[in-house]
């Protein structure tokens, strides 16, 4: 694995992050935004995996461990996000975030 350049891996996760950010910024559908957030988050998790593997040894294992924990976090986050989607749908009858502007004064 060490023969592969780290730039490639980091490039992959950067690309994933860009895709996710693009989704977050352009989509109006709450569920699509959630999916985009998941993509961006996976970029982060991938980083942990790469750098763990590159550093090797005990530090390497801890990188994999954090990745597993983060996957758990991502799951809870999606659960909360979907709950918000349901609540929003019940409240507004839509899940279009452009119409949920109650934060505005």
């Amino acid at each position: 694995m060490t023969d592969l350049p780290i730039v490639g891996f980091v490039g992959l996760s950067t690309a994933l992050l860009a895709v996710g950010l693009f989704g977050i910024l352009t989509r109006r559908n709450f569920i699509l935004i959630l999916i985009a957030i998941e993509i961006a988050m996976n970029a982060t998790i991938l980083n942990f995996v790469y750098f763990g593997a590159f550093s090797g040894g005990a530090g390497g294992l801890s990188g994999q461990a954090i990745a597993v924990v983060l996957i758990g976090f991502a799951a809870t986050e999606v659960a909360v996000g979907l709950a918000i989607v349901l609540a929003l749908n019940r409240l507004k009858g839509t899940i279009n975030v452009a119409q949920a502007t109650d934060l505005k004064l």
Partner: protein, 651 residues
């Protein structure tokens, strides 16, 4: 020793806002009295001991320049001869006045307020007496000042009471500022002075003592003498404000607008004595230069005479006693100035009892007849035998007739000052003034007595039928009468005597007793008796002495009634001088400071009006701002910062 903490602790928790708070306050002040008297007796058994419990509250590390030795703020309690003496006065009179209040104040509204404020006052006064350093002293000094303000203005719906409260506060504030300046100057001078290796007196928190003796010890009085003199004058100014000495005396007569009980406790026995106490503490622990001493003697002697003259003509029973208080405080100040701090405090001790007695007796009269005008009273001795007797005892003590308390202490002062005349001939005029004031004192207090009590019937027939108050009012009168007779004789009790002697240790000269200077004593007693006799001739038996309109003395009378125009003068200064300054300050405030503030306000209002438009409420927009911010941060960190670092060439 922990007991004194109990005093302070109890006093603090005494503030119960309950309907029966009066009795709670009485109970707690009784407990405080027991503790206070026990401490006093303890100090008499072991005279000259210094018991100091203290904690460093805040310590500043040494800083070159400002605090070469660092600086500590200390909180502690100190029991030494002088504080033990004061503690007895404060707690005993405090308890008796609390008890008396139950009867005197029973029909007033706002009683919880009254008892809470009175309790707070007692707590603050105990703290002041027990403070072991000058800064802590100052804190309690201000606390008693504010309690005095509250209590003078107790009848705040009365405009005269409200303005008297303000007057008292503002006038004493002048003194307080001077006191604070005095502390600063002493700090400046003594910041590096102290026992070797201990890092200086002021740096160690302005302590009065290092455990068994005054802290400064051999270093006392070293440093810039001019600076020390100015500092001493500033301390004198603070004391003059609190003790209503000339020229800051104007507030005390007006302070009589408060309840009579308050006048007895605060404006006769304890708080106004704090100024004398401050001078005594300062003279024992810091020392005064000889110029300061002359100034103190001058102020004291002059005030003793000056205030007595005003008491001679006043028609209001409480104000007569108030002027008398100012005059007696003048005696104490004079004694401290002459170097006999303990003699002054001894007079403070006896004065507290007989003056509280006079006030409470006057309060009893006011309670019964509902007026303070002496010319409406008369013949009250028939219906108020106890009060008449109590007032007479207080009057005899004040006039300095043996064996009543005032004789011993006032004579001590006169003979103490007399003993200094050889080395300080410039004390002469003030000694003579104080001596003449003995005559005036006897005259005015018995004028008041004859006007109120002698004769057949009240001069104003519309007065209600007078009667004695309930037992809670009579008991304090009896106890204080006993003290007014006996407190002076305490000087023959060995323990008390050594308490006074040990307290004056730093001055190195023992106080003298009236018996040592027989001629002087007899002269002052003769003057006192003469004053009483004159009062009887003019006012006795219901007579009223009316000065004819054409009399040459008429302008003098008017001058005295108008208080030498001091109040008018101060009002004029206040109205013209201060108002002009205030107008200028107001202009500056409105146009420069407010202008700046409003300018900022307008800029922000405009800016925020613009900014709020970007708040769309749409989540995606916010997310976009976050990303934009992130990108800006990256640009800053990765491109701009390295560029700047390369440009400046830093590490």
């Amino acid at each position: 020793m922990a007991l004194s903490f109990v005093v302070v602790g109890l006093a603090g928790t005494r503030m119960r806002r309950l309907e029966w708070g009066g009795w709670v306050a009485v109970a707690f002040s009784a407990a405080a009295m027991v503790v206070g008297v026990l401490i006093g007796i303890g100090e008499m058994v072991n005279p000259g001991t210094y018991t100091d419990v203290r904690y460093t509250w805040l310590h500043l590390a040494p800083a070159p320049g400002a605090f070469p030795n660092g600086f500590s703020l200390v909180v502690g309690t100190l029991v030494d001869p002088i504080s033990a003496l004061m503690l007895i006065v404060v707690t005993v009179v405090g308890f008796l006045v609390m008890l008396y209040s139950i009867g005197y104040m029973h029909q007033d509204r706002g009683l919880p307020r009254y008892y809470a404020e009175l309790s707070l006052f007692l707590a603050a006064m105990s703290g002041l007496v027990l403070a072991d350093n000058l800064l802590e002293f100052f804190v309690f000094w201000e606390l008693v000042g504010v309690c005095s303000y509250f209590l003078i203005g107790f009848y705040y719906e009365k405009p005269s009471a409200a303005s008297a409260a303000k007057e008292a506060f503002i006038v004493t504030r002048v003194g307080d500022i001077m006191f604070l300046l005095g502390i600063f100057l002493f700090f400046y001078n003594y910041a590096t002075v102290g026992p070797v290796g201990s890092g200086g007196w002021a740096a160690n928190g302005f302590l009065f003592t290092n455990g068994n003796a005054p802290y400064l010890g051999a270093a006392l009085g070293t440093g810039n003498q001019t600076l020390l003199t100015v500092a001493g004058i500033m301390i004198l100014g603070g004391a003059a404000g609190k003790s209503a000495q000339f020229p800051l005396h104007v507030w005390l007569p007006d302070a009589m607008e408060g309840p009579t009980t308050v006048s007895a406790l605060i404006h006769a026995a304890t708080m106004v004595a704090a100024g004398v106490y401050l001078l005594a503490v300062t003279s024992l622990f810091l020392g005064f230069t000889s110029t300061d001493q002359l100034a103190i003697v001058a102020i004291g002697g002059f005030t003793a005479f000056f205030a007595a003259t005003m008491a001679v003509v006043h028609p209001d029973i409480k104000r007569v006693i108030a002027y008398s208080t100012i005059s007696q405080l003048g005696y104490m100040v004079m004694a401290v100035g002459a170097g006999f701090a303990m003699v002054g405090l001894f007079h403070l001790f006896t004065h507290a009892f007989f003056k509280a007695l006079l006030f409470l007796a006057a309060g009893s009269v006011i309670h019964a007849v509902g007026t303070q005008d002496l010319f409406k009273m008369g013949g009250l001795k028939k219906t108020m035998r106890l009060t008449a007797a109590a007032f007479a005892i207080g009057g005899l003590a004040l006039a300095g007739i043996p064996p009543f308390a005032g004789f011993w202490s006032k004579d001590d002062i006169l003979s103490a000052v007399y003993s200094q005349l050889g080395t300080h001939p410039d004390y002469w005029p003030f000694f003579l003034l104080a001596f003449v004031a003995v005559f005036l004192t006897a005259y005015y207090i018995f004028r008041a007595w004859f006007l109120a009590f002698s004769g057949d019937h009240p001069r104003d027939p519309t007065l209600p039928h007078a009667h004695e108050g309930p037992w809670v009012m009579r008991v304090p009168l009896v106890v204080l009468s006993a003290l007014a007779v006996g407190a002076g004789l305490l000087i023959f009790v060995p323990g008390f005597q050594s308490l006074l002697l040990s307290g004056n240790g730093a001055a190195g000269i023992p106080p003298m007793y009236g018996t040592t200077d027989l001629l002087l004593s007899s002269a002052s007693v003769a003057l006192g008796a003469g004053g009483i006799a004159l009062a009887w001739v003019l006012w006795g038996n219901g007579r009223v002495f009316v000065l004819s309109e054409s009399s040459a003395a008429q302008p003098v009378r008017r001058l005295l009634l108008d208080r030498y125009y001091f109040k008018v003068g101060y009002d004029w200064v206040g109205a013209k001088g201060v108002y002009t300054v205030a107008r200028a300050a107001d202009f500056f405030d409105r146009f420069v400071i407010d202008g700046t503030v409003h300018g900022f306000e307008r800029a922000f209002a405009y800016g925020s009006d613009r900014l709020r438009r970007i708040q769309s409420g749409v989540v995606s927009d916010y997310a976009a701002y976050v990303v934009a911010g992130l990108i800006a941060l990256f640009v800053l960190l990765l491109i701009v910062a390295p560029y700047l670092v390369a440009k400046i060439g830093g590490g």
